[in-house]
Amino acid sequence: MKKQKPERAPGYGRLFQEAERLEPTPQLWERIAERLELRPGRAAAGMVSWPSPFLRLAASVVLAVGLLGLGIFLKAKPKQVAASPAASASAMAESAEQLDLVDPDLLGWHADLGEVDMEAEEAEEVL
């Protein structure tokens, strides 16, 4: 046989079921917002505002790409250093080619200057 529940005092169930439920006054939220100095899209006073998860994700991606790029750059740098003697050799060849473009007469004049100087030195020694 099913055990019967002891009967509750008359009105006990109704007492809670039909109990009055208060509603917050409409001004209450306004007072809360005022005290927090909240405005739509603005952080509450005294609070640290953290970026949204999407912004955090985007920042992480940018950081990862940056680090990856730095890694690739550093890895590639020794090759650049090894390649630099070849680059300087070609620069020297270029300057040699440029020497060919110099007027030979001008070079002869430089040589004359040297001879003149030598003659002057010899004359001084005689004196």
């Binding site: 509750r8 009105g11 006990y12 109990a19 917050p24 007072r31 909240l38 509450a44 609070m47």
Partner: protein
């Protein structure tokens, strides 16, 4: 437990970011239940609204303490319960405060039996504030025992015996009132 994909989770995240929408959603969802819990503990609408206001003003800074191990509503009930008890402790004359408020307990809501409201207020007033809070959440709000264990930090057996004693006291009060009414008639 928090539904980590629902609007509750979104609101908690927004609140942690300091955004008004998050706090507004939590207020819309829970303010009435928290207000009624505070009202049943403090026996005063004005003081209950004060505690509710304080709770929501503090919420952006204390939300970090919410770990999501229980429902947000359960956590809010616990915070409100503690705030109400603190308020009562701060009151110099606790008994005086409670009994003074009995006279202004019922704000006479629409469509509710005024007599019944008064009766509940007086019946709950025979209990201590902690027990009032417990009995109201169980009988008035239908909070399951498991959540009550979280709110009050008590084991199941202790809660059940507290509830049983509270029911007995309220029933005894109701019977006494009924006899008094009969005798009057």
């Amino acid at each position: 437990m928090v539904n980590w994909f629902g609007p509750e989770k979104q609101s908690i995240e927004q609140l942690r970011e300091g955004r008004l929408e998050g706090l507004q959603w939590i207020y819309r969802t829970y303010s009435q239940r928290v207000l009624n819990q505070c009202f049943r503990i403090l026996l005063s609408r004005e003081q209950a609204e004060d505690v509710l206001q304080d709770l929501f003003v503090k919420l952006p800074s204390i939300i970090s303490e919410f770990r999501g191990e229980s429902a947000l509503g359960t956590w809010l009930y616990r915070v409100a319960h503690n705030m109400c008890l603190n308020r009562l402790q701060q009151s110099r004359n606790r008994n005086k405060l409670e009994w003074e408020n009995i006279e202004i307990l019922s704000p006479r809501g629409m469509g509710t039996s005024v007599e019944l409201s008064d009766l509940l207020a007086k019946a709950l007033a025979v209990l201590d504030p902690e027990t009032r809070s417990l009995l109201w959440l169980k009988e008035g709000e239908g909070v399951p025992l498991k959540e009550l264990m979280d709110i009050f930090g008590l084991p199941e057996g202790t809660l059940k015996s507290k509830l049983s004693r509270a029911r007995d006291r309220v029933k005894a009060y109701l019977e006494k009132e009924a006899n008094y009414e009969k005798a009057k008639a």
